[in-house]
């Protein structure tokens, strides 16, 4: 009895130290859905927050510079595994943790086949680069009338740049005229949109970018698109939920949930180098019917047969167009 009591006491005393510590770095608030997916996935695998797992979360709130400082702070806390919200966070963590390698799992990053991956790194490839052409195809299928599409790309973001050749080829095959426009800041975006007003594109297509998934940028694009009647195809499902016409990709929460399995393997002691990068389990084409209506688009039910999810009645809690810019 004494031995059992002693064992229970030791277990109780030591349990906080036996908890796994998972450091999570997010570049912006949009990626919180990934974190929620991660937590849900790990909970399904038996990791209950506060009981046997502790999350150390750093959110850079959309500040590019702050991503690196947050990465530094996170690595200093010595977690068992680092989880990156995306490619940008994974890069920052990898640079910071060079001296003391900690396994890194990214919850959705684009273009990870080009040798960018380090041995201590694994995760989910969100397929953003490969899906760029598919987005263009779906845009055409939704709106067969479009002929001239403007592609917004952040020149600082490698996957965005890497998707351009396939986009150009797809545009050629689909008989579209494509214009590539670079934007690397909100100010530049504003100027670009005002310039585009004159060009009157049939639609806009976003590429994988830290800037273009930010709430402020999406809101700006959404407002402008509504006022000018431009349909916009976003990268992340969240873009459509935020008010763009459509988006095609893997939902953030799914990316987080899929990454949870990889985090679990690392917590069980597997070498991250031996864990292959996975592609998304599920892809989703989302169309925001509210946005379509506000744009005056008449989508025939036959044209929506292949859509996975239709947002109606501001279901996504997206932008209210015309809201003053903060």
């Amino acid at each position: 009895m004494l031995l059992v009591a002693l064992k229970v006491w030791i277990y109780k005393e030591r349990s906080p130290y036996l908890s796994k510590r998972v450091g999570v770095l997010l570049a912006n608030a949009t990626r919180i859905s990934k974190l929620e997916g991660l937590k849900a996935g790990l909970a399904e695998l038996g990791y209950m927050e506060g009981r046997n797992i502790i999350y150390l979360i750093k959110n850079a709130e959309g500040d590019w510079e702050r991503v690196y400082s947050s990465a530094l702070e996170l690595v200093a806390e010595g977690p068992d595994v680092l989880v990156a919200g995306g490619r940008l966070e994974a890069q920052a963590l990898a640079e910071v943790a060079q001296k003391k390698p900690v396994p890194i799992v990214f919850m959705g990053a684009a273009s990870v086949k080009d040798g960018w991956r380090l041995p201590c790194m694994t995760g989910v490839d969100n397929f953003h680069t490969e899906l760029a052409a598919k987005r263009l195809e779906f845009l055409v299928r939704l709106l067969p009338f479009i002929r001239y599409v403007v592609v917004l790309v952040d020149p600082r973001v490698v996957p965005g740049i890497q998707s351009l050749p396939s986009l150009k080829q797809a545009a050629s095959q689909l008989g579209l005229s494509l214009e590539i426009v670079s934007v690397s800041s909100i100010e530049e975006l504003k100027q670009t949109l005002s310039v585009l007003e004159l060009k009157r594109p049939d639609a806009l297509l976003l590429t994988s970018s830290f800037l273009l998934e930010e709430g402020e940028a999406i809101r700006l694009i959404g407002r402008t698109a509504k006022s000018l009647g431009w349909p916009v195809m976003g990268v992340n499902v969240a873009d459509a939920e935020a008010g763009l016409l459509a988006a095609y990709g893997c939902p953030f929460a799914d990316q987080g949930r899929q990454a949870a399995r990889l985090v679990n393997k690392i917590l069980e002691g597997q070498d991250p180098a031996a864990i292959p990068i996975e592609t998304p389990d599920r892809l989703e084409l989302v169309v925001n019917l509210d946005t379509a209506r506000s744009l005056g688009l008449k989508l025939h039910p036959d044209d929506l047969k292949f859509v996975d999810r239709i947002i109606v009645g501001n279901e996504g809690g997206g932008v209210v167009y015309g809201e003053p810019q903060n």
Partner: protein
Amino acid sequence: MEGLFTGSPRIKRWKQLRFRLVVAGVFISILPLLLLGAYHLNLVGRWQEKAIGEQNRVAAEAVANDIHNLTVQQEGFLQAFSLRYGKELLEMPSREAEGILYSLLRLSPYLEEVSVFDLKGKELARASRRHLVVPGEQRPLSDRELMEKVRRGERYYGPVEIEEDGRPLFSLAVPLWDLSREWPVGGLKAKVSLKGVMDTITMLHTRQQGGTIYLVDSRGRLIGHQDFSLVLRQLDVRNSPAVREFLQGKEPPTRYVSYDGQEVLGVVIPLRDLGWGIIIEYPVSWAMAPVRTAAWHLLALLAVVVALLLLLNSYLSWHFSKPIEELGRAALEVARGNFVEVNLMSGVGELASLQETFNYMSRELKEKARMEALVRQADKLAAVGRLAAGVAHEINNPLAIVSAYTEDFLDRLEEGGTSSFKEGEWKAYLTAVSRQVARCTSIIRKLLDFARPAPGVREWVKVDEVVQEIASLMDYTIKKKGIELALELEGGLRVYADRLQLEQVLLNLLTNAVEAIEKEGKICIKAAKKGQEIKISVIDTGRGIPPENLEKIFEPFFTTKPVGQGTGLGLSICYGIVQDLGGRMVVESSPGQGTTVKVYLPARQRGDMDEEAESSSCSG
């Protein structure tokens, strides 16, 4: 025996009865438990292995059914669209057909790509989740087997193909019918994601905790696994006996070492139509965990039982061995001449009986000892009688001298008065008389000393002194018979004995030797050290002892002398005394040749003697 003689507990602990009783008790109690436990564990282990094997088979069949159902479900979707649209799909505009195909993709998350084709092998429309589909684009199909089957109106399950990103997909095709003419006009082809299928299977069979489910195709390639990373790594599992046997169409062993080097209990179920095998493996370490737990419980139980048995057996062995030890101590006391009785305080029948027997023996021995003491005393008195003649002669001589002196003294006194004595003559007379009186006194004291019953006190006795003393006692008789007595005594020999008893022995032997010689002869008494013994030999040239009597001579009351001349106890008493002293007697004789009696007494070291003397004095 040594322990009994010394009375000290020199028996090693592990040789002690008590210890052996404890060990034997524990062993006898544990052995059946251990054997039964081991047998039971072995049986449980077999049952467990069998149960896990059966459970594996049931689970594998369930998984196989689920996979079959999922694939049939995908086929069903294609069949439904085939029936719904028929050859319309071939005839409608490609854009419209693509819309229908995309709606088919929406129906099933497992479908990655769907296309419609005609019997010429031309893909007319396509829908894909990941790859660009240019509306209206037509591509040729290169799968000849697929085309042949569809042309025959059969469904088609193609081989597993690994996508660029590592995901395994397999092709599935159903014919498109011209319903009016009932023949195939084209087909619907789909690529099915096995990852999605395996994810669903894993989710459905999460109860298979501890086990591993994986899927191999007809070439033994890993196409599905709970840990999808292994599929992405295209792990080679063909070294697993289960996969090897499956590929050869044989029944795999139930217990084997799997691809990861772990010993497992496994089962393989081939999947109908697909040519794949579903394998479920349980690590033996996991499967046998309950048996291991039971083994630990058994060991713990054994430990408790051993502890209890040790306590119980210790008590019981103490309870049973204590009377025996008491008996041992009492026996030792009896051996020392203290005829004690025991009270074992035991109600156990055998012990009570043993106690009764022991006490009876002790009483008998006590009585025997008393009788022996009386006999010895009687024998001494008899010896005194035999000595009387010699003693009388011994005393007669000095008395004759005293008489001669006193008569002469009186004659001279009567004849001449006191003046007839010269100066100093009176003193000479008186001195002569006094010397003879002293001689008489000495002889009588010796006789009294011998005849007097005295408690035996052992001491260092010089052998030569005793022999000479006895010889002097028998001097008259020896001379009277004209016997020549020779003494060959090694100097400095000592034995630790009761002096009087030793004298009694030697007197007896010498008396027997004298009596064995009719007239004239020779007696030789030798004393010498032989190894650890002192040998005293009394050798006579008498008539000897017939062989038939030789073996009886130590028996009490055995005598060849006429009635009234001997008690028959002499040699018997000698034998008892010598044995008491830790020695032995040997008699060699042949009729007409004489007799030699050898007495061997232990020649102990001085230190031993001191210890023994101390021990004797201490014991009282």
